[in-house]
Amino acid sequence: MMNDLLLELPLGIDLIKILLHLLNFLILFVALTFLLYKPIIKFIHKRQDDIKKQLDDNANLKKEAENLKEEYQSLLKNADAEIEEKQKTAEKNANALANETLNDAKLKSEEIIKNAIEYAELEKQRIATEMKENISDIAINIAKEILDKDIKKEDNERIIDECLKEWSENND
């Protein structure tokens, strides 16, 4: 009866064939699932993981690059500040050195002037003393010359008398 029912489907449809086709399809499906689908899915998943890992790596690298960039910018900024500071210090030192040199030169020149004045004063005194001695020498020599020529016997004896008087008084 069942075979009769099966054989009698309209439009000439063979149910067994359909079932065989379905079974075939099922076997094919299962075979394809194990042979094709799973490996492909596995491959796709692996690929996805690889891509994700690469994206993560890229993100990390980008972050690291940005950190480095920030760090270098900070170093540059610090370097600029340090350079400016050193320039200011160098300028300050140069000014201080210039002032010190100027002061030294001023002190030295004052010292030189003071020494020159002192030397001039000493020279003046020396010349004055020398002139005094020379003048007195000349005056004495002139007096000597005059007395040598003009002293008379009477004058001489008068001088002797004055000396004798003085020595007598001292004796008393």
Binding site: S136, A143, D155, I159, I160, E162, N171
Partner: protein, 72 residues
């Protein structure tokens, strides 16, 4: 007796010599033995030397003292 060396710039009279001897005899209270010398370098006046002390009344000495006082 004390020996006195008496130097003058020129020859002096006997009267003057007597005066000199009298003054120094009184001074030393002794007899003196004078020796007279002539030296025109003293210019004028008298120098008496008793062997230890010098009595310098020469014009040369006076001029030297004057020169020294002017030089100071």
């Amino acid at each position: 007796m004390i020996k006195l060396t008496i130097t003058t710039s020129m020859e002096i009279s006997d009267e003057e010599k007597a005066k000199i001897e009298k003054v120094f005899a009184k001074k030393y209270n002794e007899e003196i033995y004078p020796v007279y010398l002539i030296d025109d370098a003293i210019i004028g006046g008298i120098i008496v030397f008793d062997g230890e002390k010098v009595y310098d009344g020469s014009i040369r000495n006076q001029l030297t003292r004057l020169n020294n006082s002017l030089s100071e």
